[in-house]
């Protein structure tokens, strides 16, 4: 490998396409930019030596060059896009109905396609390792490809000299020659300056340049992307990001997940307001929905802070710090945590009141008793010496092989086995009571336990969020936008003027918006004796 010494005396790094100083095409490297003697020069990256092929000996260089390729980057993005699209064909696992088994759900719901979807892991696409690897590779590609282009381009634009090689000028898209001895260079320079060009001179050659910073737009934009990606990476650090969920029953005090046991919440009241079914405006929509449509729901809660040392499971000492309401989109905030009203369950039983009366006569009564479903007593004393022992309690009752069992600890379908001891009797009458069920255990009971009243309570579902990554994501987004604006709204324009024996040559280049460049050249050359150059691309086309 060798550095390339140009005839102008400048030493270029290997892989240079156009001399950094004078722009003369380096004969052996024209294939790198696909240049052809017959065509105009390809000016991308100003012919700088990006990704030199010779640094390709070690594995590190090979990996580097792989990621440096724009083709590879675009391929990665396309693959990721396709994968993301496929991931939306069927719902992700977290959105299938709770309690259903993913292994069977997809096949049952969507047939063979669903099964393939599940087998290939698309049901958990966005957290799957290979999807993350794809994103990571895009990130790496962005960093490496940007570095490999920005640095050489920066160097080249810094090194460029006003005096350019003839071949460079001739092969610019905008090029013209003027045969005249009456060129007013001073006026030309003044005009250029008036149009906010920076004018540099060397041996009578002029380089007028403006808005070079616009070339850095894409790289600034990529820096923003990288910060954005790093910000989302920070979400894996528990100290930076917490996203949890809790159910809290009315009246219940519960530790708030994700706060390391430091904060507790009491659900004081849950309120739900539905759209008025009698309002004509809503009737149709409500009927279509088949059930009431909630208008707003809200939790009135009290937040507590634990004052003793946190020991998991131990009873805490609590200090009230705040009473607040969580409504949809109006969260409760405390100490960097945010509680969002996210869900609810209605009408869970709180307590049930029973009455004891004669088997055949509902008008008789031997007293009432109320069972607190979250903490039932084992025995209830009634008037007249009657005693009721709660033998078994099934919060969510169901029959399993003829045996009554409970499906969960939540009183969603409570059922009871009562032993009723009439006064002075030692043998109880056994009866079974539940919602819509009342079974005489022996068939010979004289008394009946009858459900007369119940109270319900609601359960609120709250999302707990803590997010320190947002500033990073916002910063990344802002830098991204700055980069876009920088690259979009300004154009990097250069005009070269080179004196010849019988006149001057003029050439121009811009990274976009050629029409405006031509118009600008028109203006600056006016009355200077320089004839306006031609657009060589248009001539050929």
């Amino acid at each position: 490998m060798n550095e390339i010494k140009c005839e102008c005396g400048h030493v270029n790094p290997e892989g240079t396409v156009l001399c950094e100083s004078c722009g003369k095409p380096v004969a052996d490297n024209q294939h790198l930019n696909g240049n052809d003697d017959q065509k105009l020069l390809n000016m991308r990256y100003d012919g700088s030596a990006r990704r030199s092929q010779t640094y390709n000996r070690t594995i590190i260089d090979k990996v580097w060059n792989f990621f440096s390729s724009v083709k590879v980057g675009v391929t990665l993005i396309v693959i990721t896009l396709i994968a993301s699209a496929v991931g939306t064909i069927f719902p992700q696992e977290m959105y299938i109905p709770p309690g259903s088994n993913a292994a069977t759900h997809y096949e049952n719901q969507y047939g063979l396609a669903g099964q393939i979807y599940y087998q290939l892991g698309f049901h958990n696409l966005f957290t799957s390792w290979w999807y993350m690897v794809l994103l990571a590779m895009i990130g790496i590609s962005i960093v490496i490809a940007s570095l490999d282009r920005f640095i050489p381009l920066y160097k080249t634009l810094k090194t460029q000299k006003p005096k350019r090689h003839d071949k460079f000028l001739k092969k610019q898209r905008i090029f013209g020659t003027t045969e005249s001895t009456e060129v007013n260079m001073e006026l030309l320079k003044n005009n250029l300056k008036k149009h906010r060009f920076k004018v540099k001179e060397e041996d009578g050659s002029i380089l007028a340049e403006k808005n070079r910073f616009s070339r850095w737009g894409p790289y600034v934009n990529h820096i923003g992307l990288i910060i954005f990606l790093l910000g989302s990476l920070l979400r894996f650090v528990p100290a930076m990001y917490i996203d949890e969920f809790i159910w809290v029953r009315e009246g219940e005090t519960k530790v708030i997940n994700g706060t390391d046991g430091e904060y507790y919440i009491r659900n004081d009241e849950f309120l739900l307001e539905n759209y008025d079914e009698n309002d004509e405006r809503f009737q149709e929509a409500i009927q279509r929905n088949g059930q009431p449509v909630p208008k707003t729901y809200q939790t009135n809660a009290t937040i507590f802070k634990r004052t003793d040392d946190v020991v998991v499971g131990a009873d805490p000492e609590l200090e009230e710090i705040k009473q607040a309401e969580a409504r949809v989109n109006h969260p409760i905030k405390f100490d960097n945590f945010t509680l969002y009203q996210a869900s609810y369950q209605q009408n869970e039983f709180r307590d049930m009141t029973f009455e004891l009366h004669d088997m055949d006569d509902e008008d008789t009564t031997y007293g009432e008793f109320t069972v607190d479903l979250s903490d039932p007593d084992s025995e209830y004393e009634l008037d007249n010496g009657y005693r009721v022992v709660l033998d078994s309690y099934f919060p969510e009752y169901e029959l399993n092989d003829g045996e009554p069992v409970s499906k969960s600890k939540y009183p969603k379908n409570p059922a009871f086995v009562f032993n009723v001891y009439p006064p002075d009797e030692s043998e109880p009458e056994v009866s079974f009571a539940g919602i819509g069920a009342n079974v005489d255990g022996s068939g010979e009971n004289d008394h009946k336990v009858n459900l007369v009243d119940f109270d319900v309570r609601d359960v609120t579902g709250l999302t707990i969020r803590k997010d320190y990554t947002l500033p990073f994501i916002a910063l990344g987004g802002a830098i991204f936008m700055i980069g876009v604006i920088q690259g979009m709204y300004w154009n990097h324009r250069r005009i070269w003027i080179k004196p010849k024996e019988d006149g001057v040559w003029i050439a121009g280049h811009t990274n976009k918006n050629w029409v405006a460049l031509k118009r600008e050249i028109e203006k600056v050359t006016k009355d200077t004796g320089v004839s306006s150059p031609a657009d060589q691309q248009e001539l050929k086309g």
């Binding site: 993350m132 990571a136 990130g139 499971g313 084992s378 069992v405």
Partner: protein, 183 residues
């Protein structure tokens, strides 16, 4: 080749290696964190977090740290979990033997109503300590998703085995042997 060129090349290689290493490191971090989020129960070989719970029906508290140097089996169960009930008699059968050898069985109950548990205990007559995790805090801390779940902690205080789902008598005995202190 010029010396400056070799120097430059070396520098470039070092720079590229460092940058790639940093980026690969970040990716590995993301993948591992993502993987850890998915898993259930405290992992094998880790030290389980301490907890303090009341023995059922009493004011007496029990902490995991009380059993330093002993083997501890933590069984998460509830009365509404049928397979949990099935393995209770196995635990009862083996408890006295292993207790003598320095293995404690802690059965962490997740029911919310005392009565239900009382009735269950009087029916089964269990002699090992039943701890009451009424709000499921220990269950959350241990990331237990499914009942029954059982952790076997060796005398060094690390998780030797984690079992999600029911145990047979043979398996239970095998795991208890693994965490019996050697004297």
């Amino acid at each position: 080749m010029k010396e400056t060129t070799i120097e430059k090349k070396k520098k470039r290689l070092v720079f590229r290696s460092i940058l790639l290493a940093v980026m690969v490191g970040l990716v590995v971090f993301a993948l591992i964190s993502n993987h850890n989020e998915d898993k259930n129960v405290v992992a094998k070989g880790e030290e389980p977090p301490d907890f303090q719970l009341k023995k059922f029906g009493t004011e007496e508290t029990v902490s995991l740290s009380d059993y330093e140097g002993q083997g501890v089996m933590i069984n998460f169960w509830a009365t509404y979990c049928e397979p949990c009930k099935d393995e209770m008699p196995y635990m009862e059968e083996l408890y006295d033997d292993y207790k003598e050898q320095g293995v404690e069985i802690l059965a962490v109950n997740l029911d919310s109503t005392n009565l239900v548990v009382e009735r269950f205990l009087s029916e089964y007559g269990l002699s090992f300590p039943i701890l009451h995790d009424k709000d499921g805090q220990v269950m959350d801390e241990y990331d237990v998703g499914q009942l029954p779940s059982t952790l076997f902690i060796n005398p060094e205080g690390e998780v030797e085995e984690e079992v999600v789902g029911p145990l047979t008598l043979d398996k239970l005995e095998g795991y208890l042997d693994e965490i019996t202190p050697k004297s």
